[in-house]
């Protein structure tokens, strides 16, 4: 019996993983089918973009500026040892645009968005508001999931663009102030290093992360059981699921985009 126990746990974990992935896929499918039907709920979507996106601007600003400054400083120190500090813009550009800004933005802002959505929908589930929407003849997926899914999918790429601009400004500031590399020169070498595919890679990543964040946030909210404690459990699960999903998908997308350019 004791020998079997670990295998049972592993089996249960794998089954739970498949259940979860199946549930998420089903929710995505239903959202896409019902979401594209009229009425499109433009007002709800716009409200969610404001709620999820505009309110994330302060955190995105901090993220963008400090990631740009920290990475430029690190690269600058390393390059100075080789007498190549002027290449700091080129070195920082790829790492920031292709990897760090989209991923860190998704891990912080994405987790914030996902947990907010889970807590909101979880509270609605516990207080029977989701049942009330259905009982009044409306579709909870269309009313609650679709606007949040679209908003997070649109918001994260936009915040990624915003974060990239701020990372560039933060990097230029450090390059000029710490390494005596003129900000204009940093800017030119930074931009020269980037090709359209680098921007596309970053944007596709943040688009995918946005979709994942919205989907996981909504799914966990809908899966909330009974009682206020359940909302806390769902929210914690959302942080874990979102972080793991972002890291795994980042790796998958990196392996896809690296050979492309």
């Amino acid at each position: 019996m004791s020998v079997r126990r670990p295998f049972e746990y592993i089996g249960e974990a794998i089954r739970a993983g498949f259940d979860w992935a199946g549930g998420i896929s089903l929710l995505l499918g239903r959202s896409l089918i019902r979401g594209v039907q009229r009425p499109w709920g433009i007002y709800d979507i716009f409200s969610q973009i404001v709620a999820l996106g505009i309110r994330s601007l302060p955190l995105s600003t901090l993220m963008g500026v400090f990631v740009g400054m920290a990475l430029t400083w690190q690269f600058g120190e390393a390059l100075m040892g080789f007498g190549a500090k002027n290449a700091v813009g080129s070195a920082a550009a790829l790492a920031l645009v292709r990897e760090l800004v989209p991923t860190l933005m998704a891990l912080t802002i994405g987790a914030k968005i996902a947990t907010g959505v889970t807590a909101e929908l979880g509270s609605m589930k516990v207080s029977e508001q989701i049942d009330a929407i259905a009982s009044l003849g409306a579709d909870p997926i269309k009313k609650l999931v679709w606007p949040r899914l679209v908003a997070s999918t649109v918001t994260l790429p936009l915040l990624n663009i915003y974060g990239n601009v701020l990372a560039l400004i933060g990097g230029a500031f450090i390059a000029d102030l710490v390494f005596d590399v003129p900000a204009e020169y940093f800017y030119e070498t930074y931009i020269d290093e980037l090709y359209p595919m680098d921007y596309i890679s970053g944007l596709v990543k943040s688009f995918t992360f946005g979709l994942l964040v919205g989907l996981i946030g909504c799914y966990q909210g809908f899966q909330t059981k009974f009682g206020t404690e359940a909302v806390g459990i769902s929210t914690t699960n959302t942080v874990v699921a979102t972080s793991v999903a972002i890291i795994v998908f980042d790796f998958v997308l990196t392996t896809i985009f690296l050979p492309v350019g």
Binding site: S123, E128, D131, A132, I133, A134, S135, L136, G137, A138
Partner: protein, 212 residues
């Protein structure tokens, strides 16, 4: 156990794998989205805690189903909302339409939820423990509302309750859920006269220590 579940089965909020729930001869569990929408246009539900939408004003809550099912103008919806709130005794508060659910007392929330359920003029209203958590005056008020709506709007009410005075006063027929079945169904007088010990003990609130 299972009273609220019964109501949710009746309105198609939960799936079932045995038995039948029929609305006008149609199996609720087999209804497609359009039929379910029609069912919910005619059968409204008042949830235990009211389940008012926190992020919406009382006006938006009360007119929610109107926006879903009708093409009423804003003015018509405003008039309908006022009419419904009058009917449930909240019309005295002129600002009620623009208040948020969080600013309402428990009794007001239940009555606002009742107003939301009657706005669309349903044929049937399902009440899930409508008097839970209310003080005696509000319990009496809610009971009065249920009877008033039955008389004035001609709606059928299905009330899930532990509150025996409400059960006796609001109903033509009472069904007692016992061990996942409805073995006792009858008029209030028949149920009160039923000699079965579980019925007698339940309706009179008799407790035996050996039941623990």
């Amino acid at each position: 156990m299972g009273k609220s579940v019964c109501l949710k089965l009746m309105i198609g909020l939960l799936p079932y794998d045995a038995g039948h729930v029929l609305y006008r001869g149609k199996e609720v569990g087999e209804m497609d989205a359009e039929n379910l929408r029609e069912l919910r246009r005619n059968v409204a539900m008042v949830f235990q805690g009211g389940a008012l939408f926190d992020s919406m004003s009382v006006f938006d809550n009360v007119t929610y189903a109107l926006r879903e099912h009708t093409k009423m103008s804003d003015q018509e919806m405003l008039e309908r909302a006022r009419e419904c709130l009058d009917m449930v005794g909240l019309g005295y508060d002129k600002d009620i339409l623009y208040r948020m659910p969080a600013s309402l007392s428990g009794g007001m929330r239940k009555r606002a939820a009742l107003a939301r359920s009657i706005a669309i003029k349903p044929e049937v209203i399902l009440y899930d423990e409508p008097t839970t958590g209310l003080d005696p005056a509000n319990i009496e008020r809610i009971g009065h509302m249920i009877r008033k709506l039955q008389k004035e709007l001609g709606v059928t009410s299905i009330v899930v309750t532990h509150d025996m005075p409400i059960a006796w006063n609001c109903s033509n027929r009472v069904a007692m859920l016992w061990q996942r079945k409805f073995p006792y169904i009858g008029t209030p007088a028949e149920i009160q006269a039923n000699p079965a010990p579980e019925v007698h003990e339940f309706i009179n609130g008799i407790y035996h220590e050996d039941q623990d």
